[in-house]
């Protein structure tokens, strides 16, 4: 009995089982509503319209999603929808955009003006950074179906801290849902007079460690996130080791 002996017992699932299971879970993906084509008499249409209005009112009053929005369990910053783990999903805000293919590659430039030229919008750089933080690798611009992403990264080597700034103009209609993990604390903040979200405790890998070990799963560490929108651009600033007031100070120092 050795390792090879143990693996020789693997076998494929029965094709009929694999097909039936896929059919079962894919039904909700492909299900399409069928509308009857017969024309309703005017009176019945009026009744249907009334019932629809009542149903919408009831939905808004009693649905968990509506209550969640009212209770601020759900927050939205531009295309980003933040939902607490216990709350129900909002059906109209399902993600609609396909994920980018691995072949898509971001363009890297060294100057902020070049980044702005590629992105097609005003790209900002922080005028304030805490002591020891320096920008690394210039600017990365990525054009995707879901939007245009501009990313810059900063690092303070002494304390092994990283900070990333993401400036995104999402494609119209794009919506992305982010569900808070249990270990994350989310609060409302104001950044440069705009509504923002502060998320603390989000576990992530250090991007540099991830770069060194692309195939592996490097250790996670708590990070803080500041997300806000100005005009049509959604800004995401996140990193390890910086408190909320420092992050807001960096955010409010952003300028073209």
């Amino acid at each position: 009995m050795n390792e090879k002996d143990l693996t020789r017992f693997r076998k494929s699932p029965r094709p009929e089982f694999a097909d039936a299971l896929y059919q079962r879970i894919s039904e909700p993906m492909t299900e399409k509503k069928v509308f009857k084509t017969n024309v309703l008499p005017l009176r019945r249409m009026a009744l249907a319209l009334t019932l629809l209005v009542v149903a919408l009112l009831l939905t808004f009053t009693f649905s968990p999603a509506a209550r969640a929005i009212a209770n601020e369990q759900i927050r939205q910053i531009g295309a980003l929808l933040f939902r607490e783990a216990g709350s129900d999903p909002v059906p109209t805000m399902e993600p609609t955009m396909a994920a980018p293919s691995p072949a898509d590659a971001p363009q890297s430039v060294s100057e902020v003006q070049e980044a702005a030229g590629l992105a097609g919008f005003e790209v900002r750089a922080p005028r304030y950074l805490p002591a020891g933080y320096v920008q690394e690798d210039g600017w990365s611009v990525d054009q995707r179906e879901s939007g245009v992403y501009v990313v810059s990264s900063y690092r303070q080597r002494e304390n092994d801290r990283f900070l990333l700034l993401n400036q995104t103009r999402y494609t119209a209609g794009a919506t992305f849902e982010q569900v808070y993990a249990d270990n994350e604390a989310v609060t409302d903040v104001t950044v440069a007079g705009q509504k923002g979200v502060w998320i603390s405790g989000r576990l992530m890998t250090d991007p540099e460690v991830a770069k060194l070990e692309p195939a592996g799963e490097p250790p996670l560490q708590p990070t803080n996130w500041l997300i806000w929108q100005e005009g049509e651009i959604v800004y995401t600033l996140f990193g390890n080791g910086l408190a909320q007031d420092e992050m807001i100070r960096i955010a409010e120092s952003l300028a073209p």
Binding site: M1, N2, E3, L6, T7, R8, F9, R10, K11, S12, P13, R14, F17, A18, L21, Y22, R24, I25, S26, P28, M29, A85, P89, E94, P95, M97, A98, A99, P100, A105, P106, S108, D137, S140, D142, R144, S146, Y149, V151, S153, L164, N166, F176, E177, Q178, V179, A181, R202, L203, M204, T205, P207, E208, A210, K211, P214, G216, E217, L220, T236
Partner: protein, 179 residues
């Protein structure tokens, strides 16, 4: 090599899409299925637990966070919970009676002798400690790397290797005992 910024961009991507799920289904179905076969033995229970895992994964796909784990890893987290729930509900197929019952159903893919051997292996695995058996199912059933198993089980990679080595040694001794 994926650079840091490309990885960051992947963090802000949407949750898993239908197309991604279909691809993952094709790749991961045999692995998850074999994870359960090595946990509970051959037969309909392994299929039921596999189905349960994928149904849960699809229903909860909005809760999946790409910045926390790969989708495959997330799938194994669900599979492990499904297995735990199964063991809480009922005892696994461990008795000789079950093994004999299963032996009566010929499996063309494995062949009769190999099938009998697997049923014996299932029986021997049931005599191992729960953690040893789970690690064997993840390593040799699903074919996961020690590092992935370490992350899933919150053990160190070297710890996983040592536990697997010891479990394999125990299995070898039991396997060589007369039936």
């Amino acid at each position: 090599m994926m650079n840091a910024k490309a990885r960051l961009l992947s963090w802000v991507r949407s949750p898993v899409t239908e197309e991604e799920f279909e691809h993952l289904y094709q790749v991961e179905l045999p692995r998850i299925y074999n994870f359960f076969r090595y946990r509970v033995g051959d037969g309909p229970v392994a299929e039921d637990l596999t189905a349960d895992t994928f149904e849960k994964a699809w229903k909860k796909r909005h809760r999946y966070r790409q910045d926390l784990a790969s989708f495959s890893t997330w799938l194994y987290i669900i599979a492990r919970r499904v297995a735990i729930d199964h063991y809480r509900r009922q005892r696994p197929l461990t008795s000789l009676e079950n093994a004999r019952h299963l032996a009566s159903e010929a499996d063309p893919e494995l062949g009769t002798q190999r099938q009998l051997d697997f049923e014996r292996l299932t029986l021997l695995l049931s005599r191992l400690e729960e953690r040893d058996r789970e690690l064997i199912a993840l390593r040799y059933g699903a074919g996961l790397a020690n590092r992935t198993i370490a992350d899933l089980t919150e053990l160190s990679e070297s710890n996983v290797a040592v536990i697997l080595h010891r479990a394999l040694k125990k299995l070898r001794v039991m396997w060589e005992e007369p039936v």
